[in-house]
Amino acid sequence: MRQPNPEDARAGRSMIPRLSSLARFTFVDVILWALRIGVVFVVVGGTIGTLLKGRYGAAQWFDFLVFGLTIGSVYALIALGYTMVYGVLRLINFAHGDIMMTGAFAGYYVASTFAENGMLDRSPVLAMVIILVVAVATSTTIAVLTERIAYRPFRHVRGFAPLICAIGVSFFLEQTFRGALGASIRAYPDPKWQHEMIDVFGFGVPRVEALVVIAAIVSMIVLYLVVQRTRMGTAMRAVSEDTDAAAMMGIDVNKVVVFTFALGGIMAGIAGVCYAFVFKQVYFFMGFTPGIKAFGAAVLGGIGSVPGAMLGGFFLGLVESIGPALFLDGIGIPAPYQLRDLIAFTLLIMVLIFRPYGILGERMAKKRA
């Protein structure tokens, strides 16, 4: 028998993958590549076009940046709740946006009482702290109750039941608030001090927006420290790594899960108050859209990753705010802000195509699936 020539074998080894990768180049790949090229074309062409047109000055770009950071910080705060629960339970808590709504509603009643008796103008710091505490207490209580009543019985159920249950909880919260408090849209109080401009690098920023961004960043840093530096945070990370092993090491998994939901609830409460003070409207359905966007942000950043959720939230907010003006104006698309969600979700799809595990996500699919 003739011995195979090592030269041939080398050539063969190097030939086979190339041929098979060509053969595997299906029409789906063609479409994906066309999509990538199309997006790059729109982004690059649009940006060049917009900058050449010179329609927006530095002040406008700075405003877009601030608006993006403001809504982005709300997305980031909500996304943290999604990502932590996913990390610990592998559950997408679709009701999380509505938990934000419950906090905003609770804050509304306190805020309007304070607006009526003048406290919101007299001692704004104290008033805001009380509003925040009430909102956080409400959303945390509801988040923890949701876990205890709706999710815990499903914890060891495989399949889609927990997800369907989460969607059910979302409807339940929306419709309960609608039934109890009415379907109309309510306006948050609008004290004057919130509109006063503060100077940032020579540009004016409304105080309330600066406050929201700062509040969001501070809460995120605190949350990060809690997760990284405390015993409970370490337990959380252990459960997220391997529930069974963590239980065997003596970690009380139930306690960790409740703690996770409570942290998510706190972040949702802060998000609710921030959202309501910037956008001034509360109604029973207000949590749905930000909830979906924040879920997108969590996936974008890498679901399960705490810094990823923060980054994803800010990134999504910025793209929504700057994207239409920067990418679409330049290629002459009329009414670009109508396509804001399209840009945001195209971005999400692109990230999932290029990096299915998100910007900061780990390759969980291989390790855990």
Binding site: Y56, F64, A183, S184, R186, A187, K280, Q281, P324, Y337
Partner: protein, 414 residues
Amino acid sequence: MSYIKTWAIATLAVAALTGTSAVQAETKGPVTDPIGVLAIPKGAPIQFGGYWVMSGADSALGIDAKRGVEIAFKDHGGKLLGHPLKINVEDDLCNAEGGQTAATKLAANPNTAIVLGSACSSAATPAAPILWKAGITDIGTADTAPSLTAADRKPEYDGFMRTCYSDIDQGAADAKYVYGTLKAKKIVTIHDGSPYAQQLAMVMGDNFKKMGGTVLSVEAVAPTDVDMHPVLTRIATEKPDVIYAPIFVAAGAQLLRQSKEIPGLAKVPLIGSSGMMAPDMIEAARESIVGFKITYPDVSPEAMGKGYPKLVEEYKKEFGEAPISGYHANAYDAAELAMKGIEKVAKTDASGTTYIGRKALRDALLKITFEGTAGPIKCDAHGQCAQFKPAVYEFTNGDPKTFKIGENPKKIWP
């Protein structure tokens, strides 16, 4: 041969399937009609259908219309040709899916004589063809999109007519106000993608351009958008004299509030339209609503029909509050028109059974003229039965309890 046979059977099968719901010529009692005859036995009620928005943020619009119809029935003693009058109301949610479901339910009732509604063009657009396919005429009470009664509308809309104006007229009037009275030369329009807002913004913009003005851009937002800052910043770079935004409550209140925060837009007036005439608008916008102007049909007693003050009195007596929206008179007139039409074409035999020819009813309705509570009713061939009387209202107070059309907001033009 066998091919021909197969084809013939297939064709017949298809015809049978598609023909089951289609209407056909029918003779019942003394009446023959090309699309069907409704027979109402002695003592049985004459059943009207109604579909309006009965829940959610825009429900004032629908509840107000239903009340108008109820008063019209009461004024008739609750009876027509010896039969009691009955209305079956469906909630259309002010959207296309709701309209489709409502119309399907009403069309499935073989005793539906005529349908009144909707208050939303997005609901009427899919609903009217479903009803007409079942041979049922639909009289709109506040659905004002131009396409519903346009000269080139499709035949499936033949059964639709309305006792409210068309936005063609409102768009023209709004352009006249903005160009002539506000002396604006450059405007930006904003719609929310709904047929009503989109068509009204377009008609207004076209008229504005014809008068010599410039429409700098046509912007759009989603009805659920909350962050209007970026789109408003974009608009600010165009330096418009006026922003015209005929949208609905939620997005409208956000635009109003946020436009005051954008450098360069603080003094640019935002003009809204009929979709924002509701107490909920004040609730959503609060103090920022003071000074906000909306264009609306003139519903002051002087501008309405002779019977209007009496209708308002009855409304207050019956429901314990002033009218909650502006289209109850149009709904009253729609009910009145429907009853006049039925009286005209219905025939009763010796046993007391009343017969109504469905096409005859539609044809008769288009010919009836009378002085309605909202103004004269006279239909053109495409079902447009009322005219627009323009007015502009301005909100004066940020407390939702003070909402009363004529006071807050109060009429400032003409």
